[in-house]
Subunit: 349 residues, 2 copies
C-alpha cells in the first residue's frame, strides 16, 4: 500500500520542539506557555507565543484530542449517491459544525451494507465524537446504533427502526396538505395527485396530506402512481385528458419532474396552465421549476434548515444531552406561475 511509505518529500510542519529551540526555553516551558497552564512569567509566556506565531506553529489536534479524549470530528455516512438531497443538508450541517471547530469525515456507502460497515469501523477508529446518517428514503433503514458504542447518532432525511434513535425529517404530510389546501383555496374542485412509487415513505406521507386536505375541503380524490420522471408526468397528463370522465382542474404532483412533465403534456394538448389546470410540484428544485413552462409552484423541504438543525442537535448530543424520537421540520410553499395565484411565499403554519 503506497500510503504507508514514509513521507520524506514533505516540508515538516514546525513542532513544539522548534518553538522551544527558537524561544530558547525547554519543551516543558513551551508547552506550559502555549497551553496556558503551569506557572510562568508573563514575559516568557508572551515570548513563546510570539515565536509560535512567527514560525507558524499549530498545536497538534491529534495529540490534543488524545489528551481530551475528544477528536473534534464527526462522521457523515450518506447513501444518496445522487447527492441532490444530501448535498444541501450536508452543506448547512458542515457550516454549523465548522463554527464549533468540528471537522466532518464524509463517507458514501452507496447503499452497500458491507461498505457502510467498513466506513463505520474506520470512523470509530478515528474516535469520532458523533455520527450523522443520511439516505434515500425508500423505507426505514437498519439501525446503526448497536455498532456505535453509545456514540451520539442522528438520522437525517431517513430514520431507523430503533427505540431511542433520533431522526430529523421534512414534514412530507404537512407539505402535501399545504399544496392541496392552496389549490382548493384557489377554487379548484378536481385535484388529482400524480406521484411516485408507493414503496417510498415520502409518497405514502404526501398522499396522506393530500387526502386530509381534500377531506377538509369536501373534495374527492384521484391518485396515480408512476416513476419519478418527466416522462411519467407527460404520460399521466395525456391519459387524464383522453378519458371521457371528469377532467381535473388541478394536479398536485409528487415531485417537480412529474409536475414539469405534466405541464408539457398539457401544453402539447393545447390545455392552458394555470388557466385550465393549475399545477403544484414538490422539492422546489430550481433547475426544474424555473425551466418549466410556466415556472412551477412547488413545496420546499427546507433542506438547509434541516442540515443546520441537525448540526445544532448533534452538538447538544455530544455535550451530553439526550434527544430521542423522530422530529418533522416544516415545509414551505413557493409560489410561481403554475398554480394561478400571485407571486408570494407562504410558510406552513
Amino acid at each position: 500500500m503506497v500510503a504507508k511509505k514514509p513521507i520524506n518529500t514533505r516540508t515538516k510542519a514546525p513542532t513544539i520542539r522548534d518553538v522551544a529551540r527558537v524561544a530558547k526555553v525547554s519543551i516543558g516551558t513551551a508547552s506550559k506557555a502555549l497551553n496556558a497552564n503551569g506557572r510562568l512569567s508573563t514575559e516568557t509566556r508572551e515570548k513563546v507565543k510570539r515565536v509560535a506565531a512567527e514560525i507558524g506553529y499549530r498545536p497538534n489536534d491529534l495529540a490534543q484530542s488524545l489528551h481530551r479524549s475528544k477528536s473534534m470530528t464527526v462522521g457523515v455516512i450518506t447513501n444518496d449517491s445522487f447527492g441532490r438531497f444530501s448535498f444541501p443538508i450536508f452543506e448547512a450541517l458542515e457550516e454549523r459544525l465548522a463554527a464549533e471547530g468540528i471537522a466532518v469525515f464524509m463517507c458514501n456507502a452507496t447503499d452497500d451494507p458491507e461498505r457502510e460497515r467498513q466506513h463505520l469501523d474506520q470512523l470509530l477508529g478515528k474516535r469520532i465524537d458523533g455520527l450523522v446518517v443520511t439516505a434515500r428514503r425508500t423505507d426505514n433503514r437498519a439501525p446503526i446504533g448497536r455498532f456505535a458504542h453509545g456514540l451520539p447518532v442522528i438520522y437525517v432525511f431517513t430514520h431507523a427502526d430503533e427505540d431511542d434513535a433520533h431522526s430529523l425529517l421534512p414534514d412530507d404530510e404537512g407539505g402535501a396538505y399545504l399544496a392541496t389546501t392552496h389549490l382548493a383555496s384557489l377554487g379548484r374542485k378536481h385535484i388529482v395527485h400524480v406521484t411516485g412509487p408507493e414503496r417510498f415513505e415520502a409518497v405514502r406521507l404526501r398522499l396522506k396530506g393530500y387526502r386530509r386536505a381534500l377531506k377538509d375541503n369536501g373534495l374527492d380524490e384521484q391518485v396515480h402512481h408512476g416513476p419519478w420522471s418527466e416522462v411519467w408526468g407527460r404520460e399521466a397528463a395525456a391519459k387524464l385528458f383522453s378519458k371521457k370522465t371528469q377532467k381535473p382542474d388541478a394536479l398536485f404532483c409528487g415531485n417537480d419532474q412529474i409536475a414539469r412533465g405534466a405541464a408539457e403534456g398539457l401544453r402539447d394538448l393545447g390545455i392552458q396552465v394555470p388557466r385550465d389546470v393549475a399545477i403544484v410540484g414538490f422539492d422546489n428544485w430550481e433547475v426544474i421549476t424555473q425551466a418549466a413552462r410556466p415556472p412551477l409552484t412547488s413545496i420546499d423541504m427546507n433542506l438547509k434548515a434541516l442540515g443546520a438543525e441537525a448540526g445544532e442537535r448533534l452538538i447538544a448530543m455530544i455535550g451530553g444531552q439526550k434527544i430521542r424520537g423522530a422530529r418533522r421540520m416544516p415545509c414551505s410553499l413557493v409560489i410561481r406561475q403554475s398554480c394561478g395565484s400571485e407571486m408570494r411565499n407562504l410558510s406552513e403554519v
Copy 2:
C-alpha cells in the same frame, strides 16, 4: 461551546487495558501481540487477538497516527455549492481512498476565501496527509500551496496559478472537438455553437475545440453566448430561425440545459430534431438529457473517472512521488436521438 463539555453519557469503547485485563496479560504484552512486534509465544499472541476480537477492541487511530506521523486522512475543500459536478468526483475519490484506509474530511468553502482559510487551518491541525481542492471553473483559483507546508495538494476540476501545482481536469477542448466532428461526419454543414458566458474557462476551451473541428472540416463558424439555462436555449433557437439568413442544420450547445431549451424552442416552431436540425449538448446530465424531446446526444466529462484518478495520484503523492502540471482527461460522446445517428457510444481517441 457545548462541544467542549466532557462526555459522560457515552459507553466507553474497549481499550488495550481491557484487552490485557480479560486476557490476563500485561498491557505491554497485549500491545506487542496486537502490533505484531516483540517476542511472544504464538499461544499468547493468539489468545490476546481472540480476546480483542471478542470484546470489540479497535486500535486507536489517533495514537497510531501520532506514532507513525501519518493521520490516514485527507482533506477535500470544495467551492461548488451546487454539488452537481463535485459530487460524482468526490464519490469516486472517496471510494478510492477508503480502499487504502484513508478517510476524507470534506469542507465546503462556498467561494469565501476567509472560510477556506479557516478550513485549511483546521485540516492542518488534524495533520491531514494530503489535500484535494475542487471548484467551479470561472477561472484559475488562488493557489493554496504556500499555506500548506509542503503537503501534497491536487486541484481537481480547477487549477491554480502556481508553477508546480498539479491539476486534473476534463479535456473540454477535446470534448467539443468530438461533438463538432460528429455533427460534421453526419453531413451537417451549418453548425452553430450556442454556449455559456465567456468568463468560464470551459466556455473558451469548448469554443476552441469547436473552431478546430470546423477548420478541419472546412466549415464556417457562428457563436452565441448567453446564460447556462434552458431559457437561453429557447431564446437562441427562436432568434436563429427568425432571421432571413442561412438557417443552421446543427447546434452544438455549451451544456445540456441550453441544448434542451434549444430543442424545445425548435419544437415550438415546428422544426424537427434531428431531421431538420441536429443537436449535441455537453455534461451528459441525465436528468436533462433523458427528459428532453428527443433525448439528447451529449459529451460526458467522465467525472467519476476523474475522481478515481485524483485519488490514485494523491496516494502516489503521499507516498513521495512528485507530480506536477495540468493533466486533461478525455471526454466521451454519448449518442441518443437528437443528433440523428444510431444509438452507440464513442470514446474520444
